[in-house]
Amino acid sequence: MLGSGADRLRADVNRLLAFLFHQGILDEQFLQLQQLQDESSPNFVSQVVNIYFQESEKLLRNLRSLLMERKLSDYKNIGIHINQLMGSSSSIGAKRVRNVCVAFRAASDQNNRTGCLRVLEVLEHDYCFLKNKLHELFQIEQQRILAGGVGYPMQN
């Protein structure tokens, strides 16, 4: 009974991951990240992703406030923020967020404020979407670990 529940959860995880991959929200770097998790660091992925969430939210807040400033925006600072976000996104394999960052950087390189704002909106949306999905994923993981407490799905 427990085993089948674990299996079901495992299938859910796989389905969710497949969806995220198919939509281009995640890329293989996320799998690499999962491979880094082993007995010595059982919560590695969720740790890293949580740090990512904290950092990214801070960055997004800063970006919005920078862009909302009346006067001339500080594009250099924006660039630094985007680079940060882009770096951490590619580290965890958040492909779509990273791609939006590329577009964002292009817009900020051109000092295109309206473009930046538009991309920022896309970015916020994508980020929220990613966050929700990853939370969902971790929840299922959590349940699965509680249910079965066996190996990691990708470790086939």
Partner: protein
């Protein structure tokens, strides 16, 4: 009168004897007492001359009868005889004329001939002199006194000298009368010379003065001769001098012209130089512009591509998706083009500099091979790489650019090849020059796929390296390699062969339409080859194929390269996999070139290889062999040709061999071989897809041999295994301000067994890395606020240098510094930007290499393996 007649006739007849006298006359001395008698006797009266002198008459109306009778004198000297011409002087008293009187008196006193001063002659009125001799009645002694002489005087003989006619006669004899003007002067009275002949023209100094002596010492005469005309111009001198002047002028002019011309040419030259400089500047500017613009285009293009990518993920219908795909493909093509233009521009503006890093040539070629393997398989073209054993394992040079050249040449080959093969060979130049092996190998149609090819030896015909023996670098660490890319494609048309290396030149417009490409690749390759101090050449036969060959100079990567043989295989096995070392393989392949390629790749795994050409030989060598073969690799061609034979072989294999070797099929395309495998019904046959390359070969063998399938099968298991070997227990510092990155990087390295320390700021890193410390390596993020990776590295290097120096000079003891006297911690940059410029900047500030973020196992391995052995 009779006497007169006689005298006249006589004098006339003897006139030729006195050519200078115009006439002679004789006068007698008549005393006054005898006058009357004398006059009677003669029949005329004595006439006087002085009135005549006072009133000179015209010679036309000359009439002697007009003369007055002489007044009474003491004595007279009337002329009694005269030559006919001067017969008019008869009866004239010589003593009555002033000149004549004096003359007569002097003549009879001295007894010598006496000259008168010149005076106008009677009748003719011409200037003349008269020479008078006294005639004495008796002979007088020479010492007779004047008185005695006067007493003895009987008469006087006078000769008239008409000076004018005299001189004229003389000058006639000189025959230069017209040219010479003669003046004859009586200079008895020095202050008043009397002109006797010639006009009184002004004298201009050019005179010849000569004294004349008419026999009268009392009178002095001189003749002055000068040219009638002004002295003639010295024409020769004038013409000569004028000529010289003209010549001088001409020479001067020539000089002037020359100098002018030189100045002008120099001026022009300066202008040209100026223009050349401008042109060069313009060229550089153009390249810089291209570089800048290309770079600037690339950035927004990334945005466009990213957005297109995102667009593709949204809900699109089929048409829209097609549009987006097209747009994306075009965008990618544009970026590729821009990259090439950027390269070209960089090369032209001289900005492109080659790296000097250690790299594994074989790994580079494996990479390129895997890049093209898909395409080659689609086309059914066989792809193979062979690298001579003598080429060292590690070289120092620019792997990226080397790879670019190879990729370019192979890309072209694969574009134009529909059947046959593409074969890349790498040798040392020395090897090619003096190896007979290479020569004989090429003698027949013995090629990779059996298709004829263009003789690659032709492609390096023009290389300087080959023409001069001495050009092969004598330095032991300089490695001169020669790479040939041989294909069996459609070849380059003869007429297009000359412009193959010209940028943007393609064989024809149709080519770019059918095959795409910018036509800039070969030009870039040529530039890159030149930068590597090499040469590139090709030979191409239409419908048969092309062979491109280039040389490049690298330096040997490891000092032990001379013992390459054993060393190399060891390295190889270490890096790829150690599990196959010492095993034995049998390759069944009748074609030696292909067998050589197979042998090369299998040997890289440390496997001992034996090649046989057919089944029979194979069986015999297996049965004979002292040690068992672990594997048999069969070329697909052999397998397909004789299925019965192969079945027989497999059957026998199990019987003969002590331990049944695994059987592999070396196949060009996966699908066809699978089909065959099923039909032949042999179960334990594993297919190894070509092109062969060490990593893939190792993976295939590993899988088939059933040796522990540990690690992750997904991606680069070999590097991850060896990475673990390399990194196990190493103490590594990671510096990154991005917590997520820090965490991920640390996790990755920890997974490989490293002991990881994290730092989030550059200052922290500097503190941690100030010797003495125990870190084996440092991974440093470049973009960090406060202090970026470059600056941090620079400071770390400074402090290391400082401490090394102090240890060196004995200021610090080595013991306190862990017995390390030369501190240099490997620092690798971590960056998401994989731009050349960033890499250069990394090396400049003292970093040892760089890895991209997020970590990629193979790259990480490559970089890390340079420091940890």
């Amino acid at each position: 009168m009779n006497l007169q007649m006689t005298f006249a006739r006589y004098t006339e007849r003897t006139a030729f004897e006195r050519p200078l006298t115009s006439g002679v006359a004789y006068a007698v001395r008549v005393l006054h007492s005898e006058r009357e008698q004398f006059e009677k006797h003669q029949g005329w009266t004595i006439k006087r001359m002085d009135t005549l002198e006072k009133n000179p008459v015209h010679k036309d109306d000359y009439n002697p009868d007009l003369f007055e009778p002489s007044p009474i004198q003491e004595e007279y000297a009337p002329v009694i005889f005269a030559q006919d011409i001067i017969s008019h002087v008869i009866s004239i008293d010589l003593l009555s004329g002033k000149e004549d009187r004096e003359n007569v008196l002097r003549a009879r006193r001295s007894g010598k001939g006496v000259l008168t001063a010149p005076f106008p002659l009677l009748k003719t009125n011409r200037l003349g002199v008269i020479l008078t001799f006294a005639v004495y009645k008796r002979d007088l002694p020479s010492n007779a006194t004047p008185n005695e002489r006067i007493q003895a005087t009987n008469g006087y003989l006078g000769g008239v000298f008409d000076v004018e006619s005299l001189v004229e006669k003389l000058l006639q004899q000189l025959a230069s009368k017209q040219k010479i003007l003669v003046n004859v002067l009586d200079t008895t009275n020095q202050s008043y010379p009397i002109s006797m002949y010639g006009s009184n023209a002004s004298d201009d100094g050019l005179e010849l003065v000569s004294h004349l002596n008419f026999g009268d010492p009392f009178r002095k005469h001189e003749m002055r001769c000068r040219f009638k005309q002004k002295p003639p111009w010295p024409w020769l001198a004038i013409t000569t001098s004028i000529g010289i002047l003209v010549i001088a002028l001409l020479v001067g002019h020539i000089f002037h012209a020359t100098v002018n011309r030189i100045a002008k040419v120099e001026d022009d030259c300066h202008k040209m130089m100026e223009l050349k400089k401008q042109a060069e500047a313009a060229d550089v500017a153009k390249s810089q512009f291209l570089a800048t613009v290309s770079h600037e285009i690339r950035t927004p293009m990334n945005g466009v591509l990213g957005m297109l990518h995102m667009l593709m993920d949204t809900d699109l219908d089929v048409t829209q998706l097609d549009y987006v795909r097209t747009a994306q493909a075009s965008g990618k093509a544009l970026v590729a083009l821009i990259n090439e233009v950027l390269d070209q521009a960089k090369i032209e503006s001289g900005k492109l500099e080659l790296e000097e890093v250690q790299f594994d040539l074989r790994a580079v070629l494996d990479d390129v091979l895997s890049l093209f393997s898909g395409k080659a398989q689609d086309k059914g073209v066989e792809l193979a790489v062979f690298i001579s054993d003598r080429v060292p394992e590690m070289l120092i040079g620019d792997p990226g650019r080397f790879r670019q050249i190879i990729t370019n040449l192979m890309g072209n080959s694969i574009k134009f090849t529909e059947k046959g093969h593409i074969h890349v060979t790498v040798h040392l130049v020395e090897e090619v020059i003096d190896s007979i092996e290479v020569e004989t190998e090429f003698s027949s149609n013995n090629t990779l796929s059996g298709f004829p090819v263009a003789d690659r030896r032709q492609s390096w015909k023009g290389f300087r390296t080959f023409s001069q023996e001495g050009s092969i670098h004598p330095f032991s660490d300089s490695i001169n390699i020669i790479v040939s890319v041989e294909d069996t494609g459609e070849g380059i048309p003869i007429e297009a062969q000359s412009r193959v290396f010209t940028p943007f030149m393609q064989v024809g417009p149709s080519i770019s339409r059918t095959h795409g490409g910018t036509g800039i690749g070969l030009s870039i390759s040529k530039c890159l080859v030149n930068l590597m101090k090499g040469e590139i050449g090709f030979v191409s036969i239409p419908k048969i194929g092309s062979t491109f060959t280039f040389t490049a100079v690298f330096t040997s990567g490891s000092s032990s390269s001379k013992e390459y043989k054993s060393q190399q295989i060891n390295n190889q096995t270490n890096s790829v996999s150690s599990e196959f070392r010492g095993k034995r393989a049998l390759v069944v392949d009748p074609r030696s070139v292909r067998a050589k390629v197979s042998r090369y790749h299998i040997q890289r795994l440390g496997i001992h290889v034996e090649v046989v050409s057919d089944w029979k030989q194979g069986l015999s060598s297996i049965s004979r062999g002292s040690s068992a073969f672990n594997m048999v690799l069969i070329e697909q061609e052999v397998w397909d040709q004789d299925l019965n034979g192969s079945a027989h072989f497999i059957d026998n294999l199990e019987k003969i061999a002590i331990t049944t070797p695994k059987v592999f099929l070396l196949s060009n395309s996966i699908s066809s071989s699978r089909a065959n495998t099923t039909t032949s019904g042999v179960c334990n046959l594993t297919v190894i897809p070509k092109p062969l390359r060490a990593s893939m070969l190792a993976a295939s063998l590993q899988r088939a041999m059933g040796d522990g399938n540990k690690g992750n099968p997904r991606n680069g298991e070999v590097p991850s295994l060896s990475l673990r070997n390399l990194l196990l227990g190493r103490k590594i510092l990671i510096v990154d301000d991005n917590n997520v990155n820090l965490k991920v990087a640390a996790g990755a390295l920890r997974k490989y067994g490293a002991d990881v320390v994290s730092a989030s700021r550059g200052m922290e890193a500097i503190e941690l890395l100030t010797p003495p410390h125990r870190f084996d390596a440092c991974f440093m993020d470049i973009q960090m606020p406060e202090m970026d990776g470059f600056e941090a590295t620079r400071r770390i290097r400074d402090s290391e240098q400082n401490i090394n120096d102090r240890i060196h000079f004995g200021e610090l003891s080595v013991e306190t510094y862990n017995n390390i006297s030369n501190w240099h911690v490997p620092i690798l940059a971590m960056t998401a930007d994989v731009i050349q410029a960033t890499h250069e900047a990394c090396l400049r500030c003292g970093m040892d290499g760089y890895v991209s973020k997020p970590f990629e196992a193979e790259q990480l391995y490559r970089e890390v393996s340079r420091f940890f052995h």
